[in-house]
Amino acid sequence: MQSFDEVSAAPAPVARPGLRLLLLPLVILAGMGLSVEAGLLGPLGEQVGHLWATLSIFGVGSAILFLLLLFAGPQKGPELTDLPRWQLIGGFLGPMYVVVLTLATPHIGIAMTMIAILSGQVGKSVLIDHFGWFGATRKKVNAERWLALGLIVAALVLIARG
């Protein structure tokens, strides 16, 4: 699961140019992995059911992360039980995304599913800023962002037409 939103943070890179060039193919490979994951989910969901396919992702992921955490040793920061409850909501949102992946990829393909997902991310950030939804401060959305939103809509129309 990944999000395009972090782009707005954009901290200055600190690595040497050589290291950056070495890391880039690795990051591209990681992105390719996301499409492979989506590519595995579609056919799996058709065979065993969309919720079961989703469970396979979260079940296997939980098990791997639990083992990694055990071997990583003590962690810094507060106990999970001390955190504000609302910060735990993220866990309920993840499955929605995975279920939708299993539903959509057999019909519109993986590349187009990814474009639609990215569209939702871009659209959400533009609209939230413009209307000040969810308690965000209302910001004036500049022409470039509206242009971006227009292009996204054009991309979605193109996908819908096939």
């Binding site: 999000s3 395009f4 972090e6 782009v7 707005s8 954009a10 901290p11 950056r20 890391l23 880039l24 690795l26 990051v27 591209i28 490979l29 990681a30 992995g33 996301l34 499409s35 492979v36 590519g39 595995l40 056919p43 065979q47 065993v48 059911g49 919720l51 079961w52 989703t54 992921g61 939980s62 791997i64 992360l65 955490l69 990583a72 920061g77 507060p78 910060q87 735990l88 909501i89 866990g91 309920f92 949102l93 995304y97 539903l103 959509a104 019909h107 590349a111 599913t113 990814m114 639609a116 997902i117 939702g120 659209g123 950030s125 962002r145 292009l151 991309a155 979605l156 193109l158 037409r161």
Partner: protein
């Protein structure tokens, strides 16, 4: 399900995903990436499990019957997470995001075009290429506007 409704659902899922990423980003800063991801995955597994128990109809084929490689999806997600944790501070968020999207769409096109992993083969049509060009331009404009706001 008609294509337009399906597309709307997928776009909505993208919006939900970025809300999730925002919440998890804050969680990760306080408790560390491993623990915040474990929490996300465990809550995801438990809530999906509950939905299955009460709402999922029986299927002739179970997770135990399919070839094992079909269950490897989660590995790619975990590897992705670890690569990003290691690479983002070194190459910068913007570069990392662009690289991920390039990899994602490139691989997506390959899988679609050749029908790999048991997916239906979808030929790369001119409207699909145009859609990708539109998305690429949209991301360029989003990036330029956020860089300007940050200055």
């Amino acid at each position: 399900m008609s294509l337009v409704i399906l597309l709307a659902v997928v776009v909505l899922a993208g919006a939900v995903l970025s809300v999730q990423a925002a919440i998890n980003g804050r969680l990760g800063e306080t408790v560390g990436v491993l623990r915040s991801s474990l929490l996300t995955f465990v809550v995801g597994a438990v809530s999906t499990g509950l939905l299955i128990l009460f709402f999922e109809p029986a299927h002739a084929v179970s997770l135990l019957d399919v070839p094992k490689w079909q269950l490897s999806g989660a590995l790619f997600g975990v590897v992705y997470m670890m690569v990003m944790v290691g690479a983002v501070p070194r190459v910068g968020t913007a570069v990392a995001t662009v690289a991920v999207i390039v990899g994602q769409l490139g691989m997506g096109m390959l899988i679609d075009n050749f029908g790999w992993l048991g997916n239906p083969a979808i030929e790369l049509s001119s409207s699909r290429v145009l859609a990708m060009v539109c998305l690429g331009l949209a991301l360029v404009f989003m990036y330029r506007s956020s860089v300007r706001q940050a200055v």
